[in-house]
Symmetry: C2
Subunit: 416 residues, 2 copies
Amino acid sequence: MALVVQKYGGTSVAGAERIRAVARRVLARKDAGDSLVVVLSARAGDTDRLLTLAREMSPNPDPRELDVLLSTGEQITVALFCMAVKELGSEAVSMTGYQAGIITDGHYGDARISWIETLPVMEKINEGRIVVVAGFQGYDDGGNITTLGRGGSDTTAVALAAALGAQVCEIYTDVEGVFTTDPNIYGKARKLDKISYEEMLEMASMGAKVLHLRSVEFGMKYNVPILVCSSFTDATGTLVTEEDEEMEKVMVSGITYSKTEARITLTNVPDVPGMAARLFRPISEAGINVDLIVQGSGSIPGRANLSFTVPKPNYQETMQIAERVAKEIDAGVHSNPNVAKISVIGVGMRSHSGVATKMFEVLARENVNLKMISTSEIKISCVIDEKYTELAVRVLHDAFELDKAPGERITIKEAK
Amino acid sequence: MALVVQKYGGTSVAGAERIRAVARRVLARKDAGDSLVVVLSARAGDTDRLLTLAREMSPNPDPRELDVLLSTGEQITVALFCMAVKELGSEAVSMTGYQAGIITDGHYGDARISWIETLPVMEKINEGRIVVVAGFQGYDDGGNITTLGRGGSDTTAVALAAALGAQVCEIYTDVEGVFTTDPNIYGKARKLDKISYEEMLEMASMGAKVLHLRSVEFGMKYNVPILVCSSFTDATGTLVTEEDEEMEKVMVSGITYSKTEARITLTNVPDVPGMAARLFRPISEAGINVDLIVQGSGSIPGRANLSFTVPKPNYQETMQIAERVAKEIDAGVHSNPNVAKISVIGVGMRSHSGVATKMFEVLARENVNLKMISTSEIKISCVIDEKYTELAVRVLHDAFELDKAPGERITIKEAK
């Protein structure tokens, strides 16, 4: 008998029929002999409805009270779900974040779980009941209700799985798993059977909206296998787990893209210490997150070009800062708000060379100009013109044969 | 500086504008120097919406989970209200039943407050903040969420006022106070300035839907003055308080009516011990509440007539039981599902005689036949044909001069 944590997202519990369907799914699993902890999100649309109510009261609602308000969304779902389970003749008991002992720091709206008091949940499991926990919420040491930020129910589930020593944490959503790239962009995208935590982190931060970033970090830290699968089908899903030998043999696991950033370049920046700080301090003080930063030689000796990307909504404000700084240090500025970032991800890159070269060649062959390049151990990112995004995804997916099962690929032999 | 508990009902907080209006009202009171604890109900309609969701899951939803579900209604209101107060530049903090230390027994859906841990609320009051408590809810000693039944926010407010030693508990609703009778039935109904707890209990149980019965019991037990007033006007309201000399001088305080009961009579019941038990045991075992019971002589010597009233929805079922019992004991049965109960209420009756006589005379003058009569120290109830309800209310109201201020009445002189 295994202990399993399952999480169902908002679309999986939207409406009475969907809730009943999930209840039947959970009961089938219990009948098969497993103990179950079920974590639920708010019904799709409920959180937005609550946010609308809040904005009617204040353009900038008090963060503590916003968490009190938003946490009702999940409380409603867990109560309805338990009613459905009872109606099907089994025993379930709902728990709010507070009742389930989910203790967080005090950052309203974006709290982090500090620890979990597992006794209340374990007691109910030991009574043979299905424990149904409201996701996305906890409480701080002052007894105040907190929420974990959008998508935080994933984190609730993985953290509970870690704390309870569950065999697996299953995340049910409206997609069948993690794909080699966005299936909406390229029909040949293939569902991955397995992916490492690190790759998943890169995929998640690159905009593959399957798992909440922090939940993957939790999984990695406490080594909780996370199975991502659909609540609408019986397909197998994708297992997010520790890196293993098999994964290392696979050079590239996926291609991701992001169209949410704009690029700004300062040209001919004096190549003396402190120039980067002079630019980036006012930007970070304005609360703007800089993603990629690349510095290269400028056209004048002793001068450098400094390119970086920021989220598109911050583009105008960042440009004002950049132009002011450029004037002070006698540099030029140019920018492009219409760029995309394409990334090739794979833990196998650690032991394979030639991935970057192949990526550059493939994009060059299609006349896609690379505006910035950034590499890490398991990822190569290129910034390109936004209009080439879909083309780049397709040709890279083809070039690395991601539509084929890993064993059938013939690209690049191991070089080391 | 006084500590005041205020409670606002569902219509007072329905919609953003109403919530803002209540927030302004509360802030004005705070600016006048008082410390405030505000108890809120769910927004009008929210509880019904949640009940509909529950019934979609089960015709008979699990009581524990129903309380988890329903308690979100008040949690939403308190959060929105605090946002409004903050937006107006003052400090408020919301508390759920759990956070406010409202401890109840474990009767889901109809829990009774066992005690209140006042420290969390007092701490926040001492910080100078307006404390906003979700009404209608608490938690039992197993940490489960409970609710106090419909109208339970009144009880939350009065119980908190008692526990905190508040100077007064103000109940804001959509009527201006307690009236001598239902103003919808008789336009001459007059708002009472003051009423005793006992009278209010009789009024509440007779269907004057102003205050939750249990909240009045709490007020009486702990001697908390309760001011009932409108949140829509600045009218003075009605103070529910201890009986005083002034009240005793007033013979009759109000006339109430109820059309919710049916009358059943067993005729010529053998006048031997055990007959009443034989009839009422099966009725109570069926979960039916009998209200009035009157026994008198029957037409045959040694036989008696036994009349009683039950709620209209239980009429058919009760008739089946009555007919079965009547057959066994050789009695007759007749019934009338279309009756009303008219009551004259006043603590002054204790020291005045002649009220009953006057009531009977007034009704006789209008040819209203009395089918049952029941009296207590401060109340006389008559069961009459339902069609005479409004007429009876009007003529009694006139006869006891309830449209006049107590000092200006000339009816019946003190007899003792």
